[in-house]
Symmetry: C2
Subunit: 186 residues, 2 copies
């Protein structure tokens, strides 16, 4: 579909208050462990995380960076793309969100709409199709999700800061789940 080198493929993910999904999607794509007609390992070197400026989402992003640094994605560049909004509350928010995602996607990239609000997912997916990018999502059992949401509260700011910088003093990998299923939809 794309003339680009597979080395250049990005994962572009929306993020809500739960960091795990993005990392699981990344790992499953990289290992070729996803549902598709012909699943092959996807060599992702960069992850773009599109998110609002809500404080809980900001915290989830910092935890996500610590998870990548400490649980098997240290060599991957995780770039945050914070938007100047707390949620999609208006048509103008939606259009801004959609435009921002569109400007970050190249053909053949993987757009993951698992995190964030529904209107964000819709904006991201429509941008993905406009650019001929793939669309993926990950499904996590509700019990695992609830457990992880509860564990998130236990992390101290200073430990997260250390983790983001690759100093893994506490175990961030408890925020991931082995029961996540990733599906290539488009």
């Amino acid at each position: 579909m794309s003339a680009k080198s597979p080395l250049m493929v990005k994962l572009v993910s929306t993020l809500g208050t739960s960091p795990g999904g993005v990392f699981e999607t990344f790992m499953n794509l990289r290992q070729g462990k996803y549902e598709a007609e012909n699943p092959v390992p996807v060599d992702i070197k960069e992850v773009y995380v599109i998110r609002t400026s809500d404080p809980a989402v900001e915290r989830a992003f910092r935890l996500l960076k610590a998870i990548f640094a400490c649980c098997g994605g240290r060599e991957v560049e995780v770039a945050g793309i914070p938007l100047a909004m707390n949620d999609i509350n208006t048509r103008s928010d939606y259009l801004q969100f959609r435009r921002e995602v569109l400007s970050r996607i190249s053909p053949g990239d993987y757009v993951d709409f698992t995190g964030g609000r529904k209107a964000m997912s819709v904006a991201a997916v429509l941008a993905a199709r406009q650019r001929e990018a793939h669309v993926v999502t990950s499904i996590i059992p509700q019990a695992d999700y609830n457990e992880i949401q509860s564990k998130m509260k236990d992390f101290k700011d200073e430990d997260i800061l250390e983790g983001e910088n690759g100093r893994c003093k506490v175990d961030f990998c408890v925020l991931t789940s082995r029961n996540v299923k990733t599906i290539l939809l488009e």
Copy 2:
């Protein structure tokens, strides 16, 4: 965009466990009370409700029919389109859901993704764009949503059955909110 008579315009909504959103979207479109470049009243005569076979979703659909019958949409045909799945758990579920929505949409229709799971919303929206249908959503304040979810539990099966048939013995309109904002996205 469409050569069809405006009288033929449908609202095609995904439904989860909360019935209110579909009715609010319908009312706001009909009254021209929505965010758009040029909001005009939309004359909707038919509402298609695409839903899974989950029992809680089935109950929400019956409550929705009672709301239409008892709160200002009696002349509208509300048609349920139940799919033989409890959720979108696989790629095949997704493709079936997307195909089903696609087969129900005509150009110029309004597809409302407010209800249901995120993957359903994505399937519905991609089908909508494939058919050149509009995409709308409604935003409800979290407090109103929680209150309505709680009130839903109080309704007895026999009252719902009566309500569906236009015999409004109990007040179904408490399941609607005046604080819902509808946005035309595409």
